[in-house]
């Protein structure tokens, strides 16, 4: 078995630039790994072997010719299927887009292609990114590589499982309420939600436009910073894209890896802990705090009293925006078209028949909920109130960041649960995102870093920073990673059970 799949993206990039391995070899090794384990994991909805190898061969040729390349050139990557890719099928996990091949690339995909990263394929997800377990995909479940009977988190379970199973060193995720960070936590991987507007949303199939952010999914904090730096920065095609230059996230990750956090103030959010969080999750969190304190960090407790209303506000704002965004799936311009079984074939009836057939349960639930929240007579009580809570959550963050440089909490209240366990209880499923949602409401960045095991399953440590201070995530995240790996004698993923390889 090739060990190229076990390297971090940074280490693989070093081998490529040193001429010790070619991108074709690295890409082929990952494609072989996908062939060997993805039958069991099902992280991918589409594997683009030929395109990936062609890109790899091109990068190898350009490198041989002495061309100056991007540091990540030739390092393969997987892309969540909610991101449009020219010439590669893009479904967002929905039947309504089955077989759709986009005629354009998302901005972040353009940047990936321009830098010469071979795209291995598209990863599985909850339909339109609606879910916390990837069980709402129209194309089957993804399985957690730590225990194939358990969920990989969601909505980006495919991207997280792909990097955890060594099918890709890098992946792209999107995070509307925790869809990058929660899967990272339950698969023992790293995931960052950048500051809102830090990565272009052009070419993301929108769920909730004021909350959606794309970001890196990786096995190490440095890799996340490298990918963040590649995809981040201003894009004139996204009106919400920040014009500010991206902070030096890579430099911050390298600084953090020294393990020195002298003078850094960590704010423990009182409301993101306690009852409702699995005892083992709380224990790992406390241990991580001690480790960070020993490295020089100062720990203070902060209170964000309105966070208790964040989940409720989120489940009004997100469905409201989603019900509006998903109106484009009308059976007219792309995707599925279903004609009604009987009666007149009008555009309105075709649209209703198409959406009745093409949308899954969770999408229907959220679109109907959003339609309700926005309908006459309820708008002020629901959507209007939720927007006010958003203001209160922002004020809580502002006050907390007066007292601390970053805020910290467990990423998810539990470890990975069993497939099917929460499928019939939407509210129980929604509670998975209780610690990740406040960041989306306020637009601030967050990272999840693996911080241990509970019952043989990974737990995650969340770091939140003020808007546009994404570099702080990487400094603290890399420090925690370095300190914990020194204790463990290696990365957490090294203790995951080996997946059976089939040919």
């Amino acid at each position: 078995m090739s060990d190229l799949t076990r390297l971090s993206a940074a280490a693989l990039a070093d081998r490529l630039s040193a001429g010790e391995a070619s991108s074709v070899e690295a890409t082929r090794a990952h494609l072989d790994r996908i062939a060997a384990v993805d039958g069991a994991v099902h992280a991918f909805l589409h594997v683009s072997a030929d395109d990936a190898l062609a890109t790899a061969a091109d990068v190898d040729a350009r490198r041989a010719a002495g061309e100056q390349l991007h540091p990540l050139a030739g390092v393969p990557i997987a892309v969540k299927d909610v991101v449009v890719t020219k010439g590669l099928p893009t479904t967002a996990g929905s039947r309504i887009l089955e077989g759709w091949v986009p005629p354009y690339d998302a901005t972040l995909v353009e940047r990936i292609k321009a830098a010469g990263l071979p795209i291995l394929g598209k990863t599985n997800m909850d339909e339109f990114a609606m879910g916390s377990s990837t069980e709402h995909s129209a194309f089957g479940d993804t399985h957690n590589p730590w225990d194939l009977d358990r969920i990989p988190g969601g909505s980006g379970g495919g991207s997280a499982a792909a990097v955890a199973a060594y099918e890709a060193p890098l992946a792209i995720g999107t995070d509307t309420g925790g869809s990058i960070r929660q899967p990272a936590a339950v698969t023992g991987t790293v995931g960052t939600k950048p500051t809102y507007g830090g990565v272009s949303r052009y070419g993301l199939i929108a769920m909730a436009s004021s909350l959606d952010q794309a970001g890196p999914v990786t096995r190490t904090v440095l890799d996340a910073a490298l990918l963040h730096a590649l995809i981040g920065g201003h894009d004139p095609r996204d009106s919400t894209s920040l014009p500010d230059p991206l902070p030096d996230v890579v430099g911050a990750a390298r600084l953090g890896a020294s393990g020195d956090l002298t003078g850094v103030r960590l704010g423990v959010v009182r409301e993101l802990g306690g009852d409702g969080y699995q005892p083992g999750v709380r224990a790992r969190f406390e241990e991580s705090l001690e480790v960070l304190q020993a490295a020089g960090a100062e720990v203070v407790e902060v209170s964000c009293p309105n966070f208790q209303y964040a989940l409720a506000a989120y489940y009004l704002i997100m469905p409201s925006e989603a019900s509006s965004n998903l109106a484009k799936f009308d059976g007219m311009r792309f995707g599925l078209r279903v004609e009604p079984a009987d009666g007149p074939v009008t555009a309105e009836r075709v649209m209703a028949a198409t959406r009745g057939r093409g949308f899954g349960d969770e999408v229907k639930r959220r679109v109907i909920l959003g339609t309700y929240a926005l309908s006459a007579g309820y708008y002020d009580a629901y959507y209007g109130s939720a927007q006010k809570v958003r203001t209160l959550v922002q004020r809580d963050f502002a006050a907390a960041f007066e007292q601390a440089d970053v805020l910290v909490s467990p990423t998810a209240p539990t470890t990975a649960f069993r497939l099917g366990e929460k499928l019939d209880d939407p509210m129980a499923m929604y509670l998975n995102d209780v610690a990740t949602i406040p960041a989306n409401l306020a637009g601030v960045p967050g990272i999840s870093v693996p911080n241990g095991l509970d019952g043989g399953l990974p737990t995650g440590f969340q770091v939140l920073a003020p808007a546009k201070a994404d570099d702080r995530l990487y400094r603290v995240g890399a420090a925690l990673e370095a300190l914990l790996e020194a204790r463990w004698g290696g990365p957490l993923l090294a203790s995951a059970p080996e997946l059976e390889e089939t040919r």
């Binding site: 555009a347 309700y372 809570v389």
Partner: protein, 99 residues
């Protein structure tokens, strides 16, 4: 404030243009009732003196250079359409009257 009836779900599904089966209507009425009751807690703290926030980081007048860029060609835009004719999307009858 809550209690969403089956009839209410049917009305909302009509507004949202989604055909639902009888079984879906019944199940959604129960589920939405639970969800709406839970999310209604937002009204507890949403007092008159709190302004609403619609966007996390408001931006004003971010401009790009005024240069011409190539738009998507018509055939590319139409390539994935369920039906197209003469360089246009072909759609069903859009008005409700008899043909």
């Amino acid at each position: 404030m809550s209690t969403i009836s089956r009839e209410e779900v049917a009305r909302l599904a009509g507004l949202a243009r989604i055909d639902l089966t009888d079984a879906e209507l019944t199940r959604l009425a129960t589920e939405l009732d639970v969800i709406v009751e839970a999310v209604a807690t937002v009204s507890r703290v949403a007092t008159d003196d709190v302004p609403a926030t619609s966007h996390p980081l408001p931006l004003v007048n971010v401009l790009r250079p005024d240069v011409v860029v190539q738009p998507l060609a018509a055939d590319q835009a139409l390539a994935a359409a369920p039906s197209a004719e003469d360089g246009r999307f072909a759609v069903p009858q859009i008005l409700g009257e008899d043909a």
